[in-house]
């Protein structure tokens, strides 16, 4: 599991970037999956083919059509 201090460091880094750049692109660094994280139960049926995919996600947009105001 990711350590709490590690998460805090990342949150601080994000907060710093936001303060510095306002509404500019602030991608967080890609963080590799920690060794202890993999699923507790098999998600896919056994012997199925590998699957890799991307979910783009939004939430709580509250009707905004103009990002950043």
């Amino acid at each position: 599991m990711i350590g709490r201090s590690y998460v805090r460091q990342i949150n601080l880094a994000i907060a710093s970037l936001l303060l510095l750049t306002g509404c500019s692109r602030t991608n967080t660094p890609a963080i590799p999956l920690p060794a202890t994280v993999p699923a507790a139960t098999a998600i896919l049926p056994p012997a199925s083919k590998p699957v890799a995919f991307t979910i783009l996600h939004t939430n709580d947009s509250s009707g905004y059509v103009d990002p950043c105001g």
Binding site: A40, F53, T54, D60, S62, Y64
Partner: protein, 238 residues
């Protein structure tokens, strides 16, 4: 940004919204969410969850928006007086040979902003998801939960469910990079007010073991050029 990721990802890309989307600011309110649905159609969303700001339209108007949308509004626990779902409980998206089951679950208070009493009730989220999950798993390679419960309740769900890869959530307005991990399930949210886009990359090996899971939160700032088609849609409602 979405187009850019779709064309460069070299893997199936899903676009999901966890709700509280159709009302809020004035243009969305004055068009009763029509401008939002049209913009989401143009962006080719795959599914949307339902929150209080969506039910704020009232049931009849929301059902009209659902007909106009080219993607389903999902809720497995919002039911009519006969106990039948008012919206699709789930959808299965087939993309590049893989089947993605997406289940929507609403919060218990989803009806509190509805303008008139709605002849509907909200069932227990966990019970409702558990009921529909086997059916979705049977039709899908991967199951994703589209939740409006907030991260704390999503954690409880993740502990109690078998076979869910990720919970794409909302309500608690968090930006989860990296994801919140509970029982091997990735919990993600992407902030609020349309200012961020979340990107969750997930990979499984042939044994169904998760071998990749990276979530980043992309700020949608003014340096990103507006899509002219979306500008035209928004302007047509002004």
């Amino acid at each position: 940004m979405i187009q850019q990721i779709r064309s460069s990802a070299k893997r199936p890309v899903l676009l999901l919204d966890a709700g509280d989307t159709l009302t809020g600011v004035s243009l969305a309110n004055s068009t009763e969410g029509k401008v939002i649905v049209e913009a989401m159609n143009a962006m080719h969303y795959d599914a949307m969850g339902l929150g209080t700001l969506d039910l704020k339209l009232g049931l009849q108007v929301l059902l009209e928006r659902a007909v106009e949308a080219t993607f389903p509004f999902l809720s497995c626990n919002l039911v009519d007086q006969q106990g039948e779902p008012l919206f699709s409980p789930y959808t299965v998206v087939e993309r590049d040979g893989a089947r993605f089951g997406i289940i929507g679950v609403s919060a218990r208070d989803v009806l509190i902003l509805a303008p008139d009493p709605i002849p509907a009730s909200v069932l227990d989220p966990l019970t409702s998801v558990k009921q529909v999950l086997p059916e979705v798993r049977a039709q899908s390679d991967v199951v994703i939960l589209l939740s409006r419960l907030g991260v704390e309740e999503d954690k409880a769900l993740a502990k109690s469910l078998q076979g869910v890869a990720a919970i794409v959530g909302g309500k608690s307005l968090e930006r989860t990079a990296p994801p919140v991990w509970v029982a091997g399930v990735a919990l993600v949210q992407a902030g609020y007010n349309g200012e961020w886009l979340g990107r969750l990359d997930i990979g499984f090996d042939a044994q169904g073991k998760m071998v990749e899971a990276v979530n980043e939160i992309i700020a949608l700032g003014p340096e990103l050029a507006d899509d002219p088609r979306l500008v035209a849609i928004v302007d047509s409602y002004r």
